[in-house]
Symmetry: C2
Subunit: 464 residues, 2 copies
């Protein structure tokens, strides 16, 4: 694509930025808190605003009812569109605002402010999560259409209104509309940059298996004077099991745990190393110094690309004030495993249960309770969509775009993969200090402005 | 002592048993609940009843004020008295009665009833703990005095009114009156028999050291997706420490833990073995099968004569309903050690703290909180008082008396040793089914009747 074509779009974005901000403010004024039934009307209003906006841009768009809040779906395929058909995803709903007294101004009265470093920021609930981010894509489309009368690639847009309340309608909706929504690649704008100069695409997400185990020994709580030394203490049984989970080098000892875990490609690992993130920096902010994970791997690799076992909770016996010399009847723990691509959640769950059962004495019993299971996901880092998106982002920002991982889970990526058969590119412009889910949420004006420019470039590159 | 002398006392006891029960009923009608301020008057009334009773028997007796409920002290030394001067201890206060609705009859309206096996029992709060037991000694004295006009040994009696509420006045009272109360041997009637045919003397009591440890890792709770694999999880640190407490054979691994722990004398071990208590019987009642303590030792030795480490409580992270993928900032445990004679509580505490500190990573911290420390106690099983008491009990009951241990702690034994310089003989006639501290407390009529006879014989034997 000729430089002049994209340059004209970028110039239009720059000229139009104040109006873009005004449009974002209009959406931010709608208090679309999805988890609060009192705000159902605001959610419908936000959905209508999105559908109207898309229709105004020449999309064939509308709201779609669900048992909860409506979906917004829009399509625009211009005659000259080339390249992959993209499905863009964002969500128009927002988190609740409490504690309201910690907000400096009304969460639904958006305003431009300056942060401590003198940067311009947009302050409002949803500014970063996710109204500001989803509008970067819409405004990029607006500029393309305004300048050239067309979008370079076929575009379908899906906005959800229940992301902040567990997405109960999403899977049924995707299943019911798979044909309409299945295209070449999904673009998801709900993540962040590596730092303010370095854009990033998330290529891997860890999955999750949660298990609760309850060890029962004696039929009732015992006095440790009368029975201590003879009766089995389930706290001891549980502690041994949990201590056995990791070896001295931080490896998980559940048999077969690492089956299917691939080594991080050397090129990606080199990129991560080049980011200059030390253990001291990563852990210093939370009061720690020494990486606790597998020896010989960087902290970024530990959290982005390696599976883990974590004891999220454990309890047994008397835990109130003072002391009670009890041998409890029961002790329990909640254990979760972060998984990476190739590990099967149910295989891991079964292996863990076997691991535990083998460590429970013959006169004790163990009960298991499953708490969710989703596989890790990794997108094809060698795909042309990935390469083109990285180039587009690198053209826009001071430093080249990097492929990063995410230690957590983003369920939508799995749904798109499983239900729609599509890979996702996770591209977003948020920052760690955006205060999402907290009072005084903000979105850098630079994230919004250069985010719009970024999408304009991505659409151009994908059409090549 | 000629058989005729003791036989006459025993005959008098048998003839007088109905009146003895009536006197016990009179004491049981006084609702001397020491922990309840509303019952302070009843406690004073019970103390007066005891002092009056002793005075009526020719003791020089009276109540002694304390900051709490009064002590009762009485002395009687007959001109012909020979042998050791004994200090008899019991307590006139009782536990609260709630839940009242579970009592079949008024807890302070004592009655004779039949248990399911057809045995006669005395039902009331305090019947076994400790009014019925303390009166066995008083009624034995009554019979001796009635028949022979004298007690065979010099006797001092100490009744406490705060045993069920932590004995706050006991230590200061013993210290202030050490000269008056220090004699040759203490007799304590607040324990039980081995079984309904076999009387028992407690020769060893385990001490106790309590420690609470709090491990702190990160400065705040972390998301296990964002930090899992890199950040130290204090649940893991704690589990490793607790798992390390015991080796595979049930031995405590704290360095120096067994210093000063003597092997149980072969004769005592043989006696315990002869009691026929199997692991199946001991553990079966609480739903367990396999002894958890040191390998190669009987369950009785494990609980009576061996020191232990028990995790009485542990907690860390999210323990509510459902699941939370948190890496907590802190995790804590309450750990207690049962000690046997020769182990020093503060040495054990220091060794444990060192053991824990050595297992805490350099970027985590640990805080310790002490919860009490008392040494184990063992009485001289070769003393003449022990031998004579065993003979007296063996003469009274169908089976020979046995020397047993107690897994728990009885603080008064330590106070008598430390403050008064006296060994104690723990002789009592309670049973495991007496429901002490519970609704429908009872005391076997046989315990009361043959308990009186037992003390009559013990006094006679001690005078030899």
């Amino acid at each position: 694509m000729a430089d002049a074509v994209i340059d004209a779009v970028l110039a239009r974005i720059d000229a139009d930025i104040d109006e873009s901000v005004e449009r974002l403010f209009a959406l931010l004024r709608i208090a679309s808190i999805s988890t609060d039934p009192d705000h159902a009307r605001a959610c419908a209003e936000a959905a209508n605003w999105c559908a109207d906006t898309l229709n105004g841009l020449g999309f064939v768009a509308g709201t779609r009812p669900t048992p909860g809040h409506p979906m917004v779906v829009g399509h625009r395929t211009d005659a000259t569109a080339a390249g992959p058909h993209v499905l863009f995803y964002g969500h128009y709903d927002v988190q609740p605002v409490d504690p309201l007294e910690l907000w400096h101004t009304d969460p639904f009265a958006p305003r431009l402010a300056e942060d401590e470093a003198g940067r311009k920021v947009i302050v409002a609930r949803g500014a970063a999560d996710d109204k500001g981010q989803l509008l970067t894509f819409v405004e990029a489309c607006r500029a393309w259409i305004a300048v050239h009368g067309r979008l370079p690639v076929p575009v379908t847009i899906l906005f959800e209104g229940e992301e902040e309340s567990g997405s109960p309608s999403l899977v049924p909706f995707l299943e019911a509309n798979a044909k309409e929504l299945s295209h070449d690649v999904a673009l998801i704008c709900d993540t962040g940059m590596w730092d303010r100069e370095t854009p990033a695409i998330n290529s891997s997400l860890r999955g999750l298996v949660g298990e609760e185990i309850v060890i029962t020994a004696a039929s009732k709580d015992l006095h440790s004077g009368l029975f201590g030394g003879a009766a089995r203490n389930p706290n001891h049984v549980l502690a041994k099991i949990l201590a056995d989970l990791h070896d001295e080098n931080g490896h998980v000892r559940v048999p077969g745990f690492y089956d299917g875990v691939a080594e991080t490609p050397a090129a990606i690992r080199a990129q991560w190393d080049s980011l200059g993130m030390t253990a001291e920096t990563f852990l210093g902010g939370i009061g720690l110094k020494y990486p606790a994970g597998e020896g010989g791997r960087s902290v970024l690799e530990q959290v982005w690309a390696r599976p883990t076992a974590e004891v999220n909770g454990m309890i047994g016996g008397y835990t109130g004030p003072g002391f009670k010399t009890v041998i409890p009847s029961r002790a329990s723990a909640k254990v979760s495993f972060r998984l990476v691509g190739g590990q099967d959640p149910e295989t891991i769950r079964a292996a863990f249960r076997e691991f535990v059962a083998a460590r429970v004495p013959g006169d004790c019993s163990v009960a298991f309770h499953a708490h969710g299971g989703s596989p890790g996901l990794s997108v094809d880092i060698d795909s042309p969509h990935m390469a083109r998106s990285l180039k587009a982002l690198s053209d826009e920002w001071p430093k080249p775009a990097v492929v990063i991982g995410s230690g957590g889970s983003i369920p939508i990526v799995g749904y798109f993969k499983d239900i729609l058969g599509m890979d996702s590119l996770l591209i977003g412009f948020g920052h760690a200090d955006d205060q999402i889910h907290s009072p005084n949420e903000k979105y850098d004006l630079a994230s919004f402005h250069k985010g719009i420019r970024s999408w304009a470039r991505v659409l151009a590159e994908l059409a090549e």
